[in-house]
Symmetry: C2
Subunit: 161 residues, 2 copies
DNA sequence: TTTGATAATGAAAATCATTTTCAATAAATT
DNA sequence: AATTTATTGAAAATGATTTTCATTATCAAA
């Protein structure tokens, strides 16, 4: 509810307008939170951060906004299998760019990496080409994730022996 | 509830015993369903198939059993982001072996592929090695998924223009 | 700038997949 | 066959997310 959001226009305004979405305070605040955050936040994480400064913004709106932003492509949604979805800004000046994940199966820590080895990027292009032809499938994106144990969890296990 | 399962012992019996799990009828039936199925079934899918022949087996047991089987490694669980988990036999004579997925973002169809191009397998070994060292992370598994539009959905879109 | 149409919001209720509880039952060991 | 204890099913509980609906704010037009 209420008022206008303090700071000036943002780079995503045009993005919202393009999709004929109104530029509202909750949307601005939620995008601000996302753009100041390097981690993958759940809807509730976003809500809590938003709530500190703007207690009037409800959880429902956070969900609705995250869905909207995902649909128009400003945000990417990940499911890491712990029951709650995570969201991350996908484009714009603060964007992270394409990256892959390391997921610790013990503590659920997620490490992003985008320092691909040279062959990695080249090969994905090639794989996508081969697969599109073989399966008549138009590939638009890919997801790569490595599962295992992070250093901390490994040492915990060591100690308990 | 009730009775004993008709057919003789199965290859997974030893697997269950190893983990001191009892070999019960619901478990046998659920494993039979999974081993006769090439698709990725949701818990409810499994329940419905099981229910046809054994209406006494409840949905709760299906969930519990799928969790158990996942824990002992007989089953792999996937989250494709549509809100329900999918399960698939991971080992044994009928097993599928490691594979990757093509996911249609329109109709949610999932295509499995395991006819990797030569470089693909080689490269993943290499990437895993580099990452384990760089991030001090012990990699045990990986997940690769390509998103896009399957042929049918593409032609639907064509027609609607 | 004010106005008006309508998109967006918040609170509460509804959903939906999955988990927990608990008393009854069946599997394995004796 | 008897005993122990894991497993089961039904119903209730949970937790994330969505829907409903009356109210409010945004933006385009006057």
């Amino acid at each position: 509810m209420s008022g206008r959001y303090g700071r000036g226009p943002r780079w995503w305004d045009s993005n919202l307008r393009k999709h004929s979405c109104r530029i509202t305070m909750p949307r601005q605040v939620i995008l601000d939170v996302l753009s100041n955050e390097e981690q993958h936040l759940s809807a509730e994480d976003v809500f809590l951060k938003v709530h500190k400064k703007y207690p009037d913004i409800g959880l429902t709106t956070v969900y609705r906004t995250l869905n909207l932003l995902t649909q128009i492509g400003l945000v990417v949604r990940f499911d890491f299998g712990d029951g709650k979805a995570r969201y991350e800004l996908s484009s714009g000046p603060e964007k992270k760019g394409h990256h892959h994940h390391l997921v610790c199966t013990k503590c659920n820590r997620i490490i992003d990496y985008d320092d691909f080895i040279e062959e990695e990027e080249k090969l994905f292009g090639k794989i996508e080409k081969v697969l599109s032809e073989k399966y008549d499938f138009e590939i638009t994106d890919h997801l790569v994730r490595f599962y295992g144990l992070c250093e901390e969890c490994r040492s915990e296990i060591q100690e308990s022996l």
